[in-house]
């Protein structure tokens, strides 16, 4: 561990408004794009995202990872009646990583938008900026109502981005996406209000939307009340994640969405679900998680297998990547459900790593689709490697990252989740330990299926003799495509070789969460009472 850099970082003063500046940067970008000409839209968007990346880099640099506290807090009273509401942002290690990921993936998506953005560029790029704004907002909001507003606001630009720039069945896909997510949003709103009013009955000043306060007060509520609120939040987040049986919107949305939007959808939007699960479901309702954590694990394990099975029967390459996202999101559920530090740590790592790997894979799918104009594997028929050797290497690299090859980022999350969950309290001691263990074993068989479908996909795309119909119609990666792919591959490799550069930023978060829960477990076992009556 390079101790010296830590010392320097602690001594660097934190700019108090940096986070707020970062949050409103894309909003400002969207306004500037609306005011500028069609031709300038692309340039403005690029500049905005570059500035965002610089700001995110400064944020990460000034962040002090050695303490678990929230940093860059910024609190402004907004309205006082009928209830006090504040603008409240701040980051801890986990949200910091997600904010940085948002900045990076957005930058890549903007640069990947060259073709798509030719159609109505002003509208396209301003929607993209609005989407980024809402994403950053979700990850750094510390007020629950504000969190909800950002969470719902993301629907608007996303709906239009799919419905205007999407593929042939875009209307259906956009509507399906909207309905599913809106349903989740309403559930969350109900849970949020329910929580608020239940807290109000506890005492005159106990009702609050402050997420820090909530994580202290919500566990005091009667378990049944917590259960209802938990269920609302949980359903909302697993729709977004997505998890079986609410996953069917994802393949449709992905297949119809244009490439850069798929990158953002898989790379960032899904992470809102995982983030919510950790921050709200685990942070607010630990005793529910202690009782039902094994069920979350079972759901996660089932997702891993179900997503992988679905991949084996698809013919559309984009659908395969979409279902593999479902499968990989299962690791997040598995890691969260086990309640152990290593598992939560792995789940967070999986979110970040999947953010890059899936963005890279969707980008690569886009590059092949642009050349062949079909995503159907039987129509492509294989043998593309001869004409696209560079793309073939990038594909190979990202496919390997996706199937969890050691040394690439996909491996770290999987291994941490497996090791962490198997050694956790839930899988070893709790009343449902045998069930949890059995499902971890089942989930582990996913490593075979994952290898199967990813390699089969590669084989059906690139291996085999050259097809006569493609001769002379295909070209290898352009300079821009190579630059983007290199960037993503470099990040995947760096995180895979040295995961600690990321883990030490957010490690405190998972350690603290697990410690709180372990404390509760020990307390309840000392009292010889079950955790929930």
């Amino acid at each position: 561990m390079p101790v010296s850099t830590d010392v320097i970082r602690i001594m660097t003063p934190q700019a108090p408004n940096l986070l707020t500046a970062l949050l409103f940067l894309p909003l400002a970008g969207a306004f500037i794009i609306m005011l500028s000409s069609e031709a300038a839209a692309k340039t403005v968007a690029r500049i905005t995202t570059i500035v965002m990346c610089i700001a995110a880099g400064m944020l990460a640099y000034q962040f002090n990872p050695s303490v678990p506290n929230l940093q860059f807090e910024n609190q402004v009273q907004w309205i006082t009646t009928p209830f006090p509401l504040q603008y409240y942002v701040g980051v801890d290690g986990m949200s910091l990583c997600l904010v940085v990921l948002t900045a990076v993936v957005t930058l890549l998506a903007v640069y990947a938008s060259e073709k798509v953005g030719e159609k109505r560029p002003k509208l396209y790029y301003s929607f993209l900026m609005l989407l980024t704004f809402s994403l950053v907002g979700v990850f750094c909001s510390l007020n629950l109502l504000q969190f909800f507003i950002f969470y719902e606001f993301e629907l608007v630009p996303m709906y239009f981005l799919i419905a205007i720039w999407g593929g042939p069945r875009r209307d259906y896909a956009a509507m399906k996406f909207l309905l599913y997510t809106f349903f989740g949003g309403v559930l969350m709103l109900a849970a949020l209000l329910y929580l608020y009013f239940q807290l109000a009955t506890e005492g005159p000043n106990s009702a609050t939307f402050d997420m820090i306060e909530l994580s202290r007060r919500a566990p005091m509520l009667p378990p049944a009340v917590q259960g209802i609120a938990f269920l609302g939040f949980f359903l909302a987040f697993i729709i977004k994640l997505p998890s079986f049986p609410f996953h069917t919107w994802l393949p449709d949305a992905h297949v119809e969405a244009p490439t850069p939007i798929s990158m953002i959808l898989a790379g960032l939007l899904l992470k809102m679900g995982g983030y919510g699960l950790i921050r709200i479901c685990m942070g607010f309702f630990p005793i529910i998680m202690i009782k039902y954590g094994w069920m979350v694990m079972v759901l996660g394990a089932f997702n891993i297998i179900w997503g992988a099975m679905a991949c084996l029967v698809q013919q559309d390459m984009k659908r395969i990547i979409a279902f593999s996202s479902v499968s990989h999101m299962g690791f997040i559920l598995l890691g969260i459900g086990c309640l152990a530090s290593a598992g939560i740590n792995g789940a967070i790592f999986q979110m970040l790593s999947h953010g890059i790997v899936s963005a890279a894979l969707f980008f690569l799918v886009g590059t092949v689709y642009e050349r062949t104009h079909t995503r159907q594997l039987p129509e492509i028929g294989g043998g593309l490697a001869k004409q696209m050797p560079k793309l073939f290497y990038f594909w190979m690299f990202c496919a390997m990252a996706n199937l969890g090859l050691p040394g690439l980022s996909g491996f770290v999350g999987e291994v941490a989740v497996f090791y962490g969950s198997y050694t956790s309290w839930v899988a070893q001691v709790s009343p449902d330990a045998e069930m949890a263990k059995l499902w971890i074993w089942i989930a582990a068989s996913g490593v075979i299926l994952t290898a199967g479908y990813m390699l089969w996909l590669l084989k059906r795309l690139f291996y085999g003799p050259e097809q006569p119909k493609w001769v002379g119609h295909l070209s290898d990666a352009t300079k821009m495509e190579q630059a983007l792919a290199w960037t993503m591959c470099a990040m995947i490799l760096a995180l895979g070789l040295c995961p600690n550069i990321l883990i030490r930023e957010y490690g405190q978060v998972s350690d603290r969460l697990a410690a709180t829960i372990q404390q509760r477990i020990s307390l309840s076992s000392l009292d010889a009472r079950p955790p929930v009556q």
């Binding site: 009955t201 099975m309 490697a385 050694t423 390699l455 883990i503 490690g507």
Partner: protein, 641 residues
């Protein structure tokens, strides 16, 4: 090419220095250094460097064979458009393999284990435009992943036993030692001590078996897949679709030995149940090795592709190594690994020279008489055949006899099978030699030509250890006191054995009778091959192949079709895939989507009634939605649970 070869030369010199350093008087044990890879409060994983005698031995094997193969590649692949890509893959492989060898713990072993697997995938599929290569590389990787799945479960179980919970309290039996380490560090316990404590603390039973035994068997799936043991062996012969240098380096000498290396490295895992419990995991290792060894030898007898014959012989010899480890001949198994790496790499490189000289012809029926055109290659192949068949004094004799003798003491049936297999080995190897190099040329128009110096010198370099490396395992004292009584002999240290010696059941004595019998079997195998393929005096081969009798002809076809494993697996695989497809289609498309579409139907029906309330104003809709939420929340508020 220069970069790649230069790096390997450096590695080879470094390995020799390490070997030299470890041989200094006063040096015992190894050097361990770890650094954290994954850190969390409940469990941390480390990677590091471990150099001890076992690792030093493997380092020499890996770097030496890699070096020679890389030089050979220059001659073999010069005209291929993927020349530099090939070198980059080769370097990646050598690097991964070295990482595997110096692993300090099981996690790191798993890490590099998968990396060498992917190198194998890349190199088998090197000629990606060939359909057969594309299928073979996927098959190799997926079967290896099946093994990795077992390996992963084994690691998980081990972790569960050692860093789980006891009576609700977290426990960590590893103390100061990083998790899963082979060696104890900073006063912490080593793997054997941890297993011992795990057994004392939690005697877990799984389906009536000892938990540690189940763990050892699951973990053995990894070596089974990587070292192509029954029933996960089917990928290795198909892996011959890759270029021949790869077959020599990865699929004969080094990577396939990784499984043997893992068993040797983590030996306490397989030994522990023997010490502690009556269900021996070592017996499983020996039995799997025995079945594989015999099966592969019977299959090799009827193959016509020169590389596939060698591939099956590799499978068979790997089986020998596992029998050695399983029977307690720790040093014997490793010694066979050491010798086999040299002579098998040489045999493959010879076959590569033949194939190169015949412009890609691999069918032995179209060869013959090549001794005239390829003198050096023929001689090297002959040396390899003698070595692998176990004729004294070439290297195979020493290690194989150590294994056979301990196998006989371990279990007479396994020992007997090993002796029989030794005879079969001799037969199929000399069959290959006679079909390829003696007699008259049957290739028609293709004119055989000899290979360039880049290909010949590595062969000669490899022929030296093939002839002589056996003497590393010979102690003059052992010869002086050969035990002719058929009883277990006394334990005599030999130079190799005392170098990699391990504190576990092992057998180093020489049993004269067993030795004599196995040499007689090998000689019989040679004689039959000589009469059939050299002199043509015996024509059993054609008689058997054309036999109509269900027993004899059936046996031949059984062997020729590789015991029908591929057919069975394909049937099983397509059955499972079809099952998946049906289940998935039914659940996802019919049930889940119909519920979703059903809701939309209900919505539509409601819409018929409610369309009069549609004003088209967004605020109105939002008001309705929020109104409902407010009503529901209030309802929930009043109906207190």
């Amino acid at each position: 090419m220069c970069l790649s070869v230069g790096a390997v030369i450096y590695g080879f010199i470094h390995s020799l220095l390490i070997f030299y350093a470890l041989n200094q008087p006063g040096i015992t044990g190894g050097v361990v250094a770890d650094m954290p890879y994954f850190v969390s409060s409940s469990l941390s994983l480390h990677v590091g460097v471990l150099v001890d005698n076992l690792a030093a031995m493997m380092l020499i094997v890996v770097t030496c064979v890699s070096l020679l193969v890389q030089i050979y590649t220059h001659g073999y692949m010069r005209e291929d458009p993927g020349y530099s890509r090939f070198y980059s893959y080769l370097s990646l492989f050598t690097g991964s393999m070295l990482g595997l060898v110096i692993s300090t713990n099981l996690f790191q072993m798993f890490f590099f284990w998968e990396l060498v697997g992917v190198c194998s995938y890349l190199l088998i599929g090197f000629w990606f435009y060939k359909d057969s290569a594309a299928a073979a590389c996927v098959k190799a990787f997926v079967i290896n992943r099946i093994g990795d799945f077992g390996f992963l479960l084994g690691i998980l179980m081990l972790l569960g036993f050692t860093v789980g919970f006891v009576n609700g309290q977290p426990q960590n039996l590893w103390g100061q030692t990083p998790l899963l380490s082979f060696y104890g560090a900073d006063g912490g316990p080593d793997l054997a001590a941890v297993l011992r404590r795990a057994y004392d603390v939690r005697a877990v039973s799984y389906w009536g078996f000892n938990g540690l035994f189940v763990m050892a068997c699951l973990m053995f799936m990894g070596p089974m897949a990587k070292s192509a043991q029954f029933p996960l062996h089917t990928w290795l012969p198909d892996a011959m679709e890759g270029p021949t240098p790869i077959s020599a380096l990865i699929h004969a000498a080094t990577m396939v030995a990784a499984g043997v290396y893992l068993v040797a490295r983590a030996y306490p895992i397989w030994v522990a149940p023997v010490e502690l419990h009556s269900q021996p995991a070592l017996f499983v290792v020996a039995a799997v090795g025995c079945v594989t060894s015999f099966m592969a030898a019977t299959i090799a007898m009827s193959q016509f592709d020169i590389k596939r014959t060698l591939a099956w012989s590799t499978v068979s010899q790997l089986g020998y190594m596992f029998v050695g480890l399983g029977a307690g001949a720790f040093t014997g198994g490793l010694f066979h690994l050491f010798n086999h790496a040299f002579f098998k790499a040489m045999l493959f490189l010879c076959s590569g020279a033949v194939i190169h000289g015949l412009h890609g012809e691999q069918d032995m029926r179209k060869m013959g008489g090549l001794k005239k055109d390829m003198k050096g290659t023929g001689l090297c192949f002959l040396i390899g055949c003698i070595a692998i068949s176990g004729f004294p004094p070439f290297s195979g004799f020493f290690s194989k006899d150590e294994i056979i003798a301990s196998a006989w003491n371990f279990n007479h049936f396994i020992g007997g099978m090993m002796i029989l297999t030794a005879g079969l080995t001799s037969f199929y190897m000399f069959r290959a030699y006679f079909m390829t190099f003696s007699g008259s040329y049957r290739g028609g128009d293709v004119k055989p030509h000899n290979s360039g110096p880049a290909m010949v010198y590595p062969l000669i370099a490899l022929s030296l250890p093939s002839m002589l490396s056996g003497f590393l395992g010979a102690n003059p004292n052992s010869f002086a006191s050969i035990n002719w009584s058929g009883e277990e002999g006394g334990v005599f240290a030999n130079p190799f054995g005392s170098f990699v010696y391990y504190l576990h059941p092992h057998f180093e004595g020489i049993n004269g009778i067993i030795m004599l019998v196995s040499v007689i079997f090998a000689a019989a195998g040679w004689l039959v091959a000589f009469m059939m393929y050299r002199e043509g005096k015996l024509s059993w081969n054609t008689a058997i192949a054309n036999s109509k009798s269900p027993l004899i002809g059936g046996a031949y076809r059984f062997s020729f079709n590789k015991w029908y494993f591929d057919e069975a697996y394909t049937a099983f695989y397509s059955f499972v895939l079809r099952l998946y497809k049906n289940v998935w289609n039914f659940v996802d498309m019919v049930i889940v989507d119909n519920i979703v579409n059903g809701t939309s139907l209900v919505t539509a029906a409601f819409g018929q009634f409610l369309k009069y309330s549609q004003t088209g104003r967004g605020q109105y809709y939002a008001l309705v939605i929020f109104g409902w939420v407010a009503v529901l929340t209030l309802a929930a508020y009043f109906i207190k649970p």
